[in-house]
Every structure is written in C-alpha cells, then in structure tokens.
Symmetry: C2
Subunit: 184 residues, 2 copies
DNA sequence: ACTATAATACACATGGTGTCTATTTTACAA
DNA sequence: TTGTAAAATAGACACCATGTGTATTATAGT
C-alpha cells in the first residue's frame, strides 16, 4: 500500500523538483548536473538515480504535471475562445512555475504543446469554413498563427504578467480571427 | 603576411566546420563534444582549442559567416517586400547549410536574428501609419508576426524547399500585410 | 634553405557520470 | 511496539571529456 505514497519518496521527489527549478532560475537545463541538483537538495546522488535518469527526465516530470493541470481545466470548454482563456488562467495560476519553465532557456516545444491545445480548436472551427481553400494555404497559416500565439503567451509570462488572463486571451482571439477571417 | 592566410590554418578551420556540421545532422550541438569533432575531422584536440573555445564557439563562427552573406545581399534593397525576397533567396542559395543550422535542434535565436532584418523593415513601414495606436498593441502585434514569419521560413527549410523563394516571400508579405492592415 | 608558427603527441589534474556493494534509517502494518 | 520491507545513504569504482600544460615535429611563406 505504501509503495508510491511513502513519505520519504514524496519528500525526495519534492525537494529534487524544487532544487532543479531553483537552479533553472540561473542557468539552462543543459548546464545543470545531477551533482548540482543533489547538493542543492541535500539528497544522495544514488537516490536521484533511483527516481530519475537525468536532469532532463526530472524536468519532463515537472512539465507533465503542469500540462496535466492545464488540460484538466479545459475539459469543460469546447470552443476556442474559452479554451484560450482557460489556458491563460491556468498559466496565471502557476506563475512562478511558468516563469521558470518558459524562460529564455525554457523548453519551447513544451510551450507549443500547451498552446496547441487551444489553437487546434481555433483551426477546427475555421477549417469548416475553408473547404474551398488549399490545404497548403491552411497549413502555412496554421504555422504562422500557431507560432505567433505561442510567442504572445511566452512574452506575457516573461514580462511578469502585466496584463490579465482575460486581456491576453482577448488579444489572441482577435488577432487569430483577423488572420483567419481575412484569408478564408 | 601569411598570418591568417596560412594554408594549414585554413584547412584546419575548414575541416572542423565540416566535421561539426556533419555531426549536427544526427545530434544537437549540446551533445557534441570537442573530442567528437576532432576525431571526425582527424585534427588534434589541442589544435581545436587554439582556434575555438568550444563547439558552440565554432557554431557561432559558422552562423556569423552565413549571417554576413545574408546581410550582404540586402544592402541594395530598402523596402520590406524586396528584403523578404532576398532573405529567402539567400537561404535558398545555402540550402544544405541552412537545413542543418535551422533544424529541430537548431538555434532559434539565430533564425530570428535573420528574419528580424526584414521584419524590422515591415514594422518601420507600418509604424508611420499607426501613430494613433498604442505602442502596446504595436509591440504585441510585432511579436506575433515576427514569430509567425520566423516559423514560416523555418518550416520552408525543414520541408526541403518545396516552394520557390518567390512563393514563400509572397506568402509572408501577404499574411503580414493582412495582420497589420487590419489592426492599424 | 631558413625560420616562424602551426599542428601534433603525450601527460596531467579535475569533475561529472552511471553503476556497484554494503550499511543505516525509517515508514508502515501486523 | 516491534518486525520488516524498502528507501536513503556512504563509499568506491572505471570511464570519459575537459582544459591546460610542455616538448617535438611538420610545413608554409620568404
């Protein structure tokens, strides 16, 4: 019964995560060693290896947990507008973590993985209206707006959340609408 | 006189560059060691260090040379449309190199550095027309289109240059126009 | 042919890695 | 409360890349 719920395991994993995030505030994941993380966490290096295989592996775990949180908040909403808003709110609710994970050295692929959730709904909505257009144009437009949207959110995070989630979501909605409405 | 033009130096630098690019086809720069590069190039490791300080340093050199080429082709054109086209043509003229440098593991910051040349001209042109708008909206729109444009070019490269430079430049012009004309 | 210097060969201490084998500590359950 | 499984630690190990020495060889340019 006490397999994964062992207090010792929970503590170890917790401090290792904290330790990595703390180190990531000053250096990129690429330059952080297992030894660094363990010294900073006051955890034996062998213990690290019994839970994770590398700093990247540990980071993946952290990211997956955040991703799960964000996805959970989306299960209710189906249209693109509310999905965008809820993603922004999820990020807003995890500001400290997001600041680190999506920082300069942060994993762009993961950021994209998040925005894609909402963006796919955008595209699905517009795809219906664009049957007379080539898939090629749709594909290029998708790439353009996808990456633009991702950058807007990343910039919002990096600038310290000056705008509210509502404001950012509204801007994203508007500019995506402009592009897609005009082209299709 | 023969300082930097020494044939030995030219050869060494050349094979080291080739070696790194070859290795980058299969792994990211992060995982490539000095030892790897030297073994692959059949160059002594000490020789590497007498020219470059790290694999990243070597890559920076390669990137800077490409950047110089691209900038050179731009000195004639002043408007955004022709600048975009000439960048696309420069990339087209260096396909093999660009495929590697802008690959999945490629340096996104460098890709942005390139597209920014043309994009800044776009923005300068539109900035004149948008005095009545907030800098904030302009800034966000800039980020959106900047990153969208970058992604389009990157995608063009990664897909193996299916379209001509003219076609890609035309799409970039059009979609940027749509966004900026509609919002301002 | 001379000479400066580029390239090589060899060596070294350093530091992180991943994986062992004990040994100690501790959470949970009977 | 105590027994036990398993978690954490301690210490050691070979391995490999690093960066920096020193000495030697090869060679491009004059």
């Amino acid at each position: 019964m006490g397999r994964k719920n062992d207090r010792r395991v929970k503590y170890t994993k917790m401090v290792l995560k904290q330790s990595l995030l703390q180190l990531m505030q000053k250096q990129s994941i690429q330059k952080i060693t297992v030894t660094d993380i363990c010294k900073n966490a006051d955890i034996n290096r062998n213990t690290f290896y019994s839970h994770y295989s590398s700093p990247e592996d540990l980071l993946n775990t952290i990211e997956s947990e955040l991703f799960k949180k964000i996805r959970l908040s989306l299960d209710t909403s189906n249209d693109a507008r509310t999905a965008t808003l809820e993603i922004c709110q999820s990020i807003w609710n995890n500001q400290e973590l997001c600041k680190i994970i999506f920082s300069e050295n942060g994993d762009r692929k993961f950021m994209k993985r998040v925005t894609t959730i909402a963006h796919d709904k955008f595209i699905a909505e517009w795809k219906v209206m664009s049957k007379h257009h080539s898939n090629d144009l749709l594909e290029k437009t998708y790439i353009f707006t996808e990456n633009g949207t991702t950058a807007i959110i990343q910039n919002w995070i990096m600038n310290g959340f000056i705008e509210s989630p509502e404001e950012i979501a509204a801007f994203i909605d508007e500019i995506n609408k402009v592009v897609l409405d005009t082209l299709f």
